[in-house]
Amino acid sequence: MRARAAVATVLGPGGRTVVQRLASAPPLTLRQTGPYTVHLVSTAAGPLGGDRLALDVAVAPRTTLELGSVASTLVLPGEGESEMLITARVGTGATLRFTPEPTVLAAGCEHRLLVRLTLEPGANVLWREELVLGRHGETTGRCHARFDAIRDGLPLLRQEFTVGDPALDTSPAVHGSARCVGTTFLTAVAKEPRVADGVAVLPLAGPGTLVSALAADAVGLRSRLEWGERTTINGDDSVAFGGDGPVPGLQ
């Protein structure tokens, strides 16, 4: 199956965000669920081996988009590799919050997960990715994930993660006994590195932060990532996502 879905915002009257384009392509079905909120609704199983899925996200300058998913993505085996390519461009002064439910790598799957994120000056982004290594009691499938964030033409963060080589998966240098791995990339700048049980807040060399977490289960992973996100955001006054308080930057 080949599918390419897209979502794009434009700046409407009065500075409001208008979701201008919402192009679904099953199994990637997009539903607008709020003024600037869109959810991915899977309308078919998978991705399955052999699927090539792409999602294009364009957030126009000074607009806001929150992109989530209603359920986790279960990657299943099939004919060859499956691929999910997400290309996102976030304009000047725009805000993107990308917080889908986890990707679960079922035994036998061969998946590629590619993210290409381009940031214009003053873009605000929170981008969360969670991988679950196999369903309950099952060995993990294989996955190669790559994340590239470019800001003003310069690389801000490049990360690859490979799952499914037993010798490496269990290495105490890679993720040891953890069954869930996740990261959140933020343009918010953490004041200082922080580390807690299974999670680190890593201020990048450029203007941004990576929260990196390992956990035994998806619930633990989410709470560790959210701790790192809060720690980052609460230390940065210029940020668009304000936790429980009022949310400056969101219309």
Binding site: L157, D165, V174, S212
Partner: protein, 236 residues
Amino acid sequence: MHPALLLLTDSRLPAGGHAHSGGTEQAIASGAVHDVPTLAAFLKGRLHTAGAVTAALTAAACAHAASTTTAPITGTPGTPLWGRLDAEVDARTASPAQRHASRTQGRLLLRVARRVWPSPVLDGLAAESPNPHHPIALGTAAHAAGATPEEAAMAAAYHAISGPATAAVRLLGLDPVAVHGLLATLAPDLTAVTAGACRAAVHQDPGWAALPACSAPALDLLAERHATAEVRLFVS
């Protein structure tokens, strides 16, 4: 193999490498590494993630040093492109503690290499970037010493495991012969990582965007925890 490679990978090279355990000290403190088999798993994971990245970046630096020597772009060896490669290293090193360790080792190696293998390309790098990341210093030093990008990548891959292995011997009191036996069993992995690094690096100059960026979440956590540890024997 160029004989200079032996000098570059020798732990007796006075470039401060012995002060770094690459996360091993903290992995031992946390209990994750406690004997030869757990050290083996740690080193293998380290080699195929951090080692693969540093090998590719080192090969890229060596190839770039060679290209600036033969066809200087700005008229002097050491072009502003070092800054672009430096940014590629930064983007692949999310952990501030690891960036700091990389630049500390890079600065020391550059200082030593300029005296051991004096060359315009090392002077050019020092002028533009006094605190280069370790793979940039290592790749440039390897070129100045007469080595190829492939040899430079091999040196980087070996460096990614040899220092951590000796640190574990000291911290855990492991049998040094058993640990060297373990390093010997990693030889095929070293060859594979080196080959992969060169495939990625040599034909990409100056398009470094697609170079490997393998992350190791546990190493990031260990590096940051180590940076805040009150008692430590190694810098990293």
